[in-house]
Amino acid sequence: MPLIEKGEIVADLYVRVADDEPLPEGVAVLIGIDRFLNEAEALKGRQAPVGVIWPNNRPIAEIAPHLGQLSLIALNFPSFRDGRAYSQARLLRERLGWTGPLRAIGNVLRDQFLLMERSGFDQIDAVKPADAAAFDEAVQAYTVFYQPATDARPSLLRQRLGRTLAGVRS
């Protein structure tokens, strides 16, 4: 599962820890929502970065009080055909002001990379190595974008409408 960040394949510094496993000391961990919420207080004292996998079926607005203690948010694609995480990602970026790393995990495939980027993901945990290798090609397949989204690509609507979305990065 190669991890892509800003177009480069990078090492994943986060260790995924299941709810019933002990948390390793001194390393960045990516944990599930139940553990995160149950141990929120204890986690505040932790010296290493904490990331959470926020589930599709929980309103993303509920993450707001916890953003300060998170170093990574991962959103899941149980199937590439399940698009809930796109809305969650946009809300995180545009409504809740999350500027930290936002990772797409699960059934993450090449033909959705561009949609993910446009929705605010900046880390993509690709299922297939060949897809990861084709990342640039995939996200550069288009030069024309009709609608404004979370990314900085100029959209025809934005050009035509001449306004900038509040809270959009760049």
């Binding site: 809305s87 949609l115 993910m116 397949a141 409408l161």
Partner: protein
């Protein structure tokens, strides 16, 4: 016509290149069928019983002559010389090869035509009134707003993998020809008391397994707020629409389960957060889109010119004129419907030759514009009345002047089991047999306005729930059976039909329909009471008694 600019053309070329690459990866094995299927569907490519099928969008039902001619070319080169106009302002080619699809798409893209988002769980081709910008009834050209939505929804990063497909229809006329009440979102464009343009917004309508008439969640949305409000609806649906059961995934189920009021509240809350953002449409933005619609330079003409009055002495021309020609907003012009329902032919099919004839006639008599309506007929929206006799003669010669628009054999039918991988029963031959029973068009005219809709399965592509007579094919023990409903309608008074009685066999359907029609003829209050009004007045019981007594 909306004129594509360099951005639109670049986008289409990029889309074709992307699909060509995806087909290549599929053929090489880099993509599995499960991974490829949603990608091809979002380009309008289905795998049906006999072959791949390509569904091409006719955005808001508007085509120019060059585009229709290119469709004829695709039909001839890549298919079997004909195409099928659908109930959602699309055309389908039934015999296309996957290997050749990128070529066919590239050819279509050259004239600004594509199959993007004609399938898949995304925002589909936005449909509207085929008489847009021609009918005197409307308050604005609804296609402006359909085009704004087309642009907004095209490859939308957030809404490409919705729980299920999403269909939007717009009407700007009092008489709804776009069936907005049976769409996921229906938009009724009108002016408020202050004269401002805006939409009544309906959600949760739809046919299929669980039919609903849409519910109004906002009586007046200022037109410039269209996109932010639609985005709010889409965002609520994308997050909370059901994904556990494909049959419960449409927005209508969400609206039904939480109630229109709760749904509306969620939309309003989301909308409040985004309405002043980037999707707010400025007057300049709207004008920019509006300016790219090219309207005909109408001549100053009189209504009912001498050439027309003279031609009306020919009873055959006069019959066609009464049936297929409608009032235009500009004096001296008419709207002409071209029936694709010659008696005994597959409803909505046109050969490549016929497409070229219509393209030629549109160029000669109709400012190069062709329209497609959900009734599966074509339309020339702007024809000078003095040209009607010559147009009729040319249509007649091409087998395109059957004067049966809105009559009992102007039947709407899905492809059914003869083509479709989802179907349970045939639809086209049922339509053909019914049409033949009324081959005497004098008899059909005596019956008057009567819409028959046939679907070959519960997915309801033939919109049977809203047919004045609805016919649904089902399967029982390996045999085709058909359920009949009466009293459905798709217009501004939209309602779902009522089941007449037990399903009947394939062979029994035409006779049963004849009995229903005969019963109507006996029971109607007079020749001016339409079939649908007689059913509304009497209910289905008197029909049921007569029809089932006879069978």
């Amino acid at each position: 016509m909306y004129a594509y600019d360099e951005f639109d053309r670049a986008f289409l070329a990029e889309r074709v290149a992307e699909f060509r690459d995806q087909v290549g990866r599929r053929l090489s094995g880099a993509l599995s069928e499960d991974e490829f299927k949603p990608l091809r569907l979002m380009n309008g490519v289905y795998l049906q019983l006999h072959a791949y099928m390509l569904r091409i969008a006719i955005p808001y039902g508007t085509l120019n002559a060059a585009q229709l001619r290119r469709m004829a070319h695709v039909a001839r080169v890549y298919d079997r010389g004909y195409g099928h106009f659908t109930t959602r302002q699309n055309i389908q080619f039934n015999w296309i090869k996957l290997e050749e699809l990128p070529e066919a798409m590239a050819s279509l893209a050259e004239v600004g035509v594509h199959g993007i988002q004609t399938s898949g769980n995304c925002i589909r081709n936005v449909t509207t009134d085929q008489w847009a910008a021609a009918t005197p009834e409307e308050c604005d050209d609804p296609r402006i707003w359909a085009e704004i939505l087309r642009q907004y929804s095209t490859l939308h990063p957030e809404f490409t993998y919705l729980p299920r497909k999403f269909k939007i229809a717009i009407t700007a006329a009092g008489h709804d020809r776009a069936a907005i009440k049976v769409h996921d979102v229906g938009l009724r464009l009108h002016r408020n008391e202050a004269g401002e343009l805006g939409f009544e917004v309906l959600v949760g309508g739809g046919l299929g397994r669980t039919p609903f008439v849409g519910k109004s969640i906002r009586p007046f949305l200022p037109a410039r707020e269209l996109l932010s409000y639609i985005e709010a609806i889409m965002r609520v649906y994308n997050q909370y629409g059901r994904r556990d059961n494909i049959y419960k995934a449409r927005i209508k189920i969400l609206v039904h389960e939480i109630g229109a009021e709760e749904f509306s509240k969620a939309v309003e809350a989301e909308w409040a957060a985004i309405r002043d953002g980037a999707l707010h449409l400025t007057d300049e933005a709207i004008a920019e889109i509006r300016d790219r619609f090219i309207y005909p330079s109408f001549e100053t003409l009189e209504n009912e010119p001498a050439a027309l009055t003279e031609a009306l002495k020919d009873s055959r021309f006069a019959t066609w004129h009464r049936n297929s020609v409608q009032a235009h907003k500009v004096p001296g012009y008419s709207i002409v419907t071209i029936s694709l329902k010659p008696v005994g032919a597959p409803p909505g099919d046109a050969t490549a030759d016929q497409m070229e004839v219509v393209a030629d006639l549109a160029e000669r008599y109709g400012f190069s514009e062709i329209r497609v309506g959900h009734e599966q007929n074509l339309c020339l929206p702007h024809v000078a009345q003095k040209d009607l006799p010559a147009l009729w003669a040319a249509l007649e010669a091409a087998g395109l002047a059957t004067p049966n628009v809105n009559l009992v054999n102007d039947i709407i039918a899905c492809p059914g089991l003869d083509y479709c991988a989802l179907a349970n029963a045939r639809a086209i031959p049922v339509a053909q047999e019914i049409a033949k029973r009324f081959a005497d068009l004098d008899r059909a005219r005596g019956v008057g306005r009567l819409h028959i809709n046939i679907s070959g399965c519960i997915n309801a592509c033939g919109h049977h729930h809203v047919g004045h007579i609805g016919i649904l094919g089902v399967e029982k023990n390996g045999q085709e059976f058909y359920q009949i409903t009466l009293g459905g309608r798709a217009d501004e008074h939209a309602q779902l039909g009522t089941l007449l009685g037990p399903a009947v066999s394939y062979e029994q359907v035409p006779g049963l329909v004849e009995d229903v029609v005969d019963t109507y003829m006996e029971l109607r209050a007079g020749p001016h009471e339409l079939f649908i009004d007689t059913v509304a007045r009497l209910g289905v019981e008197p029909f049921k008694e007569r029809v089932y007594a006879a069978h």
